[in-house]
């Protein structure tokens, strides 16, 4: 009261003290998801996870539960639909040994499936379930609980009012026990039951929707946070995949550019080209090699890769065009010996069929390879094939995110692009010319009754490059360049 003016500064319009405080959270242990949720799920409160059949919600719940168990928070999994034995078995396929955690009393699977032969006569409540759970929570000091397929329980009631009432009772019970809860519920297509479980969304403090959809014959999984009381959250749809170690949410495309500045020059592997580029490529920058089929893009990239590996650096080669074996054998003709480099682990070639999986799965593999291989340089051969991951947009997404990941890590990124038409330059701009630091164009030209290859550097950010066209020859000893 002594200093009312100063105090007023700390009060907002309602006269309440302004003390912004994030609500307590517990991490899900799913890295990308914790980023989206700005730290994790609301501690001691309920999160609703809804999605269609096979959308991955039960797995997400289990993974979060197990993360809690690992962090010293015993957990209970209530199964209204699946058999406990089946859950154990499925978890095994991901390398999770539930039975041993159950033996240690850190995890409890409660089979809450109802015998389909029971007869219902008159009203009832889920107090039996709560009594059993109550005992269990106390006995193992449980902190987290996943209630899987709660809709199956609700189906027992033929009145929406009773459904709601029982859910509220359950919610109250969970809050009283201070349990961090994930409740999964199957969503049916909107037309069928527009608002049957809408009240659940209101009840929960955090609502996450997961789905699986098919675009251009490629299935993709997405999640979106619908609401999160008392917390900010990422508001986009985020792709995720189910891999051999569970759910992986693809890290968010950073809206803050944290690219490292370009490093010193590094040899392209060809002395003459180094001259043309005024010393070579710059480390940690992006290079686009564009050209018609057979113009020598792969050869140029492999010359670079070989030189880098021989210097003792590591190169990750993501090949969407051919298998490692066929690439190795094709490069023997211009005199490149890649096999020994692969053997030493300096050159890592990963071949994928673009249409084999969705863009997020490709991205997952690429980002994982960056972490595992720790390369100084990455080659993507060829970005034109990435459209087959689903759509032009998907390809763009993939390429941008791989490029960003490389730039954040100071990795040189070489993209090869196959141009189809004669007007090659126009096609370059389509993939985002401005984010590329160096552009090299390879083309075929009929000269003196023969097809000749030509190379020109169209752009090289921050360095004085030659603007001359050079004749580009592929010999059995690599590449030769002479002024055209």
């Amino acid at each position: 009261m002594a200093t009312p003016t100063r105090r007023a500064q700390h009060r907002d319009v309602a006269g309440l003290p302004k003390r912004r405080k994030e609500i307590p959270k517990v991490p899900t242990g799913i890295a990308g998801l914790d980023e989206v949720l700005r730290g994790g799920l609301p501690a001691g409160r309920m999160t609703l996870l809804n999605g269609g059949a096979g959308s991955g919600k039960s797995l997400m719940g289990l993974q979060c539960l197990l993360h809690g168990v690992g962090a010293g928070e015993p957990g209970i999994l209530v199964l209204f639909e699946e058999r406990a034995a089946a859950v154990r078995q499925n978890a095994w396929s991901l390398g999770w040994d539930l039975a041993s955690l159950e033996r240690d009393n850190r995890l409890y699977l409660m089979d809450a499936r109802l015998n389909p032969e029971v007869v219902i006569s008159g009203d009832f409540s889920i107090k039996g379930l709560l009594a059993i759970l109550d005992q269990q929570v106390k006995a193992m000091r449980a902190r987290r609980i996943v209630i899987d397929a709660v809709d199956t329980l609700l189906h027992l009631y033929d009145s929406p009012m009773r459904e709601r009432h029982e859910l509220y009772a359950l919610h109250e019970w969970l809050l009283d026990r201070g349990l961090t809860t994930i409740m999964t519920v199957k969503t049916v297509p909107q037309e069928e039951a527009p608002s049957r479980y809408a009240f659940l969304d209101f009840m929960a403090d955090c609502v996450i929707h997961v789905d699986q959809r098919v675009t251009a014959q490629v299935a993709t999984r997405r999640l979106r946070v619908i609401k999160y009381r008392g917390s900010g959250y990422g508001r986009n749809e985020y792709p995720f995949i189910i891999s051999e170690n569970g759910i992986n949410v693809i890290p968010i495309t950073s809206n803050v550019l944290q690219h490292r500045p370009p490093g010193p020059k590094v040899s392209s592997g060809q002395a003459r080209l180094d001259d043309i580029l005024a010393g070579g490529y710059k480390r940690g920058t992006s290079i686009l090699i564009v050209g018609t089929a057979g113009a020598g893009k792969t050869t140029l990239a492999c010359v670079f890769a070989q030189a880098a590996c021989l210097r003792g650096e590591r190169v990750l080669y993501l090949n969407f065009e051919e298998s490692p074996e066929s690439m190795v054998s094709n490069m023997l003709s211009p005199g490149l010996a890649l096999q020994p480099l692969i053997k030493t682990g300096r050159l890592v070639v990963q071949s994928y069929l673009p249409e084999a999986m969705g863009v997020e799965e490709h991205l997952f593999h690429a980002l994982k390879a960056l972490d595992v291989v720790q390369p100084q340089h990455v080659v993507v051969d060829a970005i034109s094939a990435c459209q087959r991951m689903g759509s032009e947009h998907a390809a763009f997404d993939y390429l941008m995110r791989v490029l960003n990941a490389c730039k954040e890590r100071g990795i040189t990124c070489i993209y090869l692009n196959q141009a189809t038409g004669l007007d090659i330059v126009a096609e370059i701009s389509g993939i985002g010319f401005s984010i590329i630091d160096t552009v090299i164009l390879l083309r075929h030209l009929p000269i003196d009754g023969a097809m000749k290859r030509q190379l020109v550097v169209m752009k090289s950010r921050g360095s004085k490059h030659s603007e001359q066209f050079h004749e580009f020859q592929i010999t059995d000893r690599g590449i030769d360049l002479v002024k055209a």
Binding site: L114, N115, S121, G122, D123, F124, K127, G128, L156
Partner: protein, 108 residues
């Protein structure tokens, strides 16, 4: 008012075979109270002198509830005669309960 007639030639419960029930309730909430009363009345009318009811309060004995996989209350389990029958709810619909317990007869 005796359960003597059976469809499909099911084994006779006549001759005074004792019905053993276990009724799971949750304290004295209204459904539980109703279930107790409904069961008592039904036994009085249809199984006079040949029934045995064990009532379990899940709020006091969760272990037995777990053993019998009782998730909702009230739950009535017919232990004997076989086969076992489970009826959920306050047993308000007498006809349905009788049907479930194979006690339909001239009482309908």
């Amino acid at each position: 008012m005796k359960a003597r007639r059976h469809e499909g030639g099911r084994s006779a419960t006549a001759g005074g075979e004792t019905y053993v029930f276990r009724l799971f309730v949750a304290g004295n909430d209204s459904n539980s109270t109703q279930a107790r009363e409904n069961l008592a009345r039904l036994c009085e009318e249809h199984l006079k002198g040949r029934h045995e009811i064990k009532t379990v309060d899940v709020l006091k004995d969760a272990e037995t509830a777990r053993k019998h996989h009782v998730l909702v209350t009230p739950t009535l389990i017919l232990i004997k005669p076989h086969p076992k029958v489970t009826v959920l709810g306050n047993l308000g619909d007498t006809r349905q309960v009788l049907l479930a317990l194979r006690l339909t007869g001239d009482g309908r």
